[in-house]
Point group: C2
Chain length 250, copies 2
């Protein structure tokens, strides 16, 4: 191992150490969502930083660039690209990865399911190109099932995330944070696991760490006020309906 490789590995390990046992806040909004906009994403990232988050997850060059102006936390970058003809949308191609890698992110995350992606690209192909051109960046493979995790272990990702659990056909039944998946990945590999997806409460974040996650990503429950509102509205309306029912029985 030559000197520069050692330096690179040292840098990557430092980022991993920085995240260990910690919270990453995902700051994302799609076009048409009430909080959409790079300025607002940067404000959310600043809020996350102030609240003690160890990292930020964000999508797209515009958002990531604005966020980097405001906070210096490590960033898990993705590049969501929705197309009618492909199910894969999280950094689906090498080019989509390259765009965000140019912003200087510490971690790039890509969909690592075996599903088809544009241009006939493959997970391994994208990973290889990233390794070649951006050797100092950690690469995270995002999967939805244990068999998808098994398939990518030999590829040598730096991190594996449970992000897609509940968002693929293969994992359609999953409605809350997938602790079982975290445990199973830990059984087959020492690659650090990032728990992401459907964490709605502090207790669930803790349970994810307890299941063996290296770090926990929370998005919706911090940066999607429309969904947080919905949860309160749902609880109050449920209470109202129960009261109605009680009254009509009395």
């Amino acid at each position: 191992m030559n000197r520069s490789v050692k330096q690179i590995n040292h840098k990557k390990e430092a980022v991993l150490a920085q995240l260990k046992g910690k919270l990453v806040v995902s700051c994302q909004a799609r076009v048409g969502w009430p909080m959409y906009g790079a300025e607002i994403m940067a404000a959310f990232a600043a809020a996350a930083c102030q609240g003690g988050a160890a990292g930020i997850r964000a999508t797209g060059v515009d958002n990531i660039s604005k966020i980097k102006e405001k906070v210096s936390l490590p960033i898990i970058g993705i590049n969501k690209q929705f197309r009618d003809d492909y199910e894969v949308y999280i950094t689906p191609t090498y080019e989509s990865a390259r765009e965000i890698l140019e912003t200087g992110i510490e971690i790039v995350a890509i969909d690592a399911t075996p599903r088809k992606r544009p241009g006939g690209e493959t997970v391994e192909g994208i990973l290889c190109q990233i390794r070649k051109n951006y050797p100092e960046v950690l690469v995270m493979g995002e999967i939805s099932t244990i068999s998808e995790a098994k398939a990518i272990v030999p590829m040598g990702f730096d991190l594996i995330s449970t992000t897609l659990s509940g968002y693929t056909k293969e994992s359609a039944g999953v409605k809350s944070v997938n602790l079982e998946l975290i445990r199973k990945i830990r059984e087959i590999t020492d690659i650090p696991v990032i728990a992401e997806g459907k964490i709605a409460r502090e207790e669930e974040a803790v349970m994810a760490l307890d299941a063996g996650a290296h770090a926990v990503v929370v998005g919706t429950s911090i940066t999607r006020p429309e969904i947080i509102t919905e949860r309160y509205v749902g609880a109050l309306s449920q209470y109202g309906m129960n009261q109605e029912a009680r009254r009509s029985l009395a």
Copy 2:
């Protein structure tokens, strides 16, 4: 009662009915807070609206005006004014109330504690001037203790809120939603009570309704991502410390 008074009362009752058993989302950020800015407050209000909120609470002419451009929900307007020489800061004077009343809000909320305010103004004096000049607006008195509530019942507020519970010397010990105060106010008056302050979970919002609140205001837990982040960070770091302790005992 003449015709126009009847119409006004009808309009006010309609707003009260619209809020009954529902959620109001407070969208506020002070200068220097990460989410500060009228555009972001309006985005939060739009998110609250999308999530099913029945009303918005906001402070200051700029924020309220921007919010009104985006959502048509009833607004509880306040005008926070911090001064070194007075403890009262929620719409402390008639002039501060007038400014926001000019934006066309449905409800104006004022500090209704007996504490001193600028210009020697009194709670009753401010209420009277609002009644005279803005008879179609509901006026909410914000208090922190049951004795403050008792003192304002005869003044004829349309609504009483528990907003200041935990934020005055007289209520300094209060650390979570004050259900006891809601119950006590309900025992002494039929004026609808708005539960506000320190509601951090859906269950607490439900408990506030169950204690007799007419509606529930949630702010921090929806629109202060820095504090929501802090809660997750606190829970994860507590878990980490417990693990450390366990390890050192083993």
